[in-house]
Symmetry: C2
């Protein structure tokens, strides 16, 4: 599992001349980093007298962001696995017409899966941003910049995943599949941008200039 | 060192109820992830016949992005150390007037350093984006989405670091220091945004719709 490597080992493998792990796994990791920061802000809020009134909501936010962190973490590996399956399909024999047909169908199927994994990352980003917003609005003000970084890393996850959905869609021949997914990507990307700007507004208003 | 933790261990520590590591270290990690992806695109380009003409430029880009990855990696720890120094200064005794004065001076000095570390992250982002642009323009087209994710992670590093500079500036009383640094942050953030959009344009133009 990629998450069992050290951070520097992961960076080393990322930088290596193997195409996987690549941008898709980084998108999922970015989501995990964002969720972890929302969890931190929640933990720095819970138990503080000043925030007693929001404790129940922050505790529920923490549970959700911790679940999300686990989901994103598993998507780091799932993206690399999906990419490797595409590579495997490409390496199928292509001597006879039958083989060519089977290979081409296997490539299409694997590429669809490789598009769906980053799309799943994108959907979880929207949930993550809703939690980051609660952290920014109601969490410990001393950590409000961390809620902002949480939103930025989640948004970067969405934009990075979008590139990975699109590069996969560009080689899928099922036009109906491509059409629906393209629209979904565009729509989630826009939502992510709007939510992130909203959170950064809240964060900015709480960082009082000296 | 934080980079010697496993990825899941790092995420765990990030999500914990200790304020460090926090958003500042994540900003530096985001820069390291971006640089690693530029390195990967370079390595997937070098040695390929189709890209023989750009091999010298891509090799030099790779050397620079690998240096940058190391720099960002060391900034992950430096940010956490700078934050801890601020906490130490806050814990100095404050019983006598003398102690109060010393404590307050120590807090100011440590907070300046805590503002300068993310500012350094921001400056390196601009170098990283220049390399990501070369990777997007001239690198292996099959990995162009990775060059795009590289830019997105670098830009997220800049924006995240900017929040960390600003939250530190908000408690610094040296108005000259604050004025200069604020302008720098705003200017680097704008440059980072423009460079990132430019890179994403290049990437988008190479991801041909099906």
């Amino acid at each position: 599992m990629l998450t069992e490597k050290t951070v520097s080992g992961f960076l080393e493998e990322l930088a290596s001349n193997s195409p996987a792990p690549g941008g898709g796994s980084v998108a999922a990791l970015s989501g995990a980093l964002g969720s972890a920061l929302t969890s931190m802000v929640c933990r720095l809020t819970i138990g503080k007298k000043k925030y007693a009134q929001v404790e129940a909501e922050i505790t529920s936010t923490l549970n959700k962001s911790e679940n999300l962190r686990r989901t994103f973490s598993s998507l780091i590996d799932r993206d690399t696995q999906a990419f490797n399956k595409v590579m495997e399909a490409f390496s199928l024999p292509k001597e006879t017409e039958d083989q060519k047909g089977l290979r081409s169908a296997a490539i299409q199927m694997a590429t669809k899966e490789a598009a769906l994994v980053p799309l799943e990352v994108m959907k979880h980003v929207i949930d993550g941003l809703a939690l980051a917003k609660i952290a920014a609005e109601k969490g410990n003000t001393n950590s409000v910049s961390d809620a902002g970084v949480s939103a930025l890393m989640l948004h970067s996850a969405a934009r990075s995943a979008a590139l990975n959905v699109r590069i996969n869609l560009s080689s899928i021949t099922d036009t109906e599949f491509v059409g629906w997914r393209s629209e979904e990507v565009t729509s989630i990307e826009r939502t992510s941008k709007n939510m992130t700007e909203e959170i950064l507004q809240i964060v900015g208003s709480k960082i009082t200039p000296p």
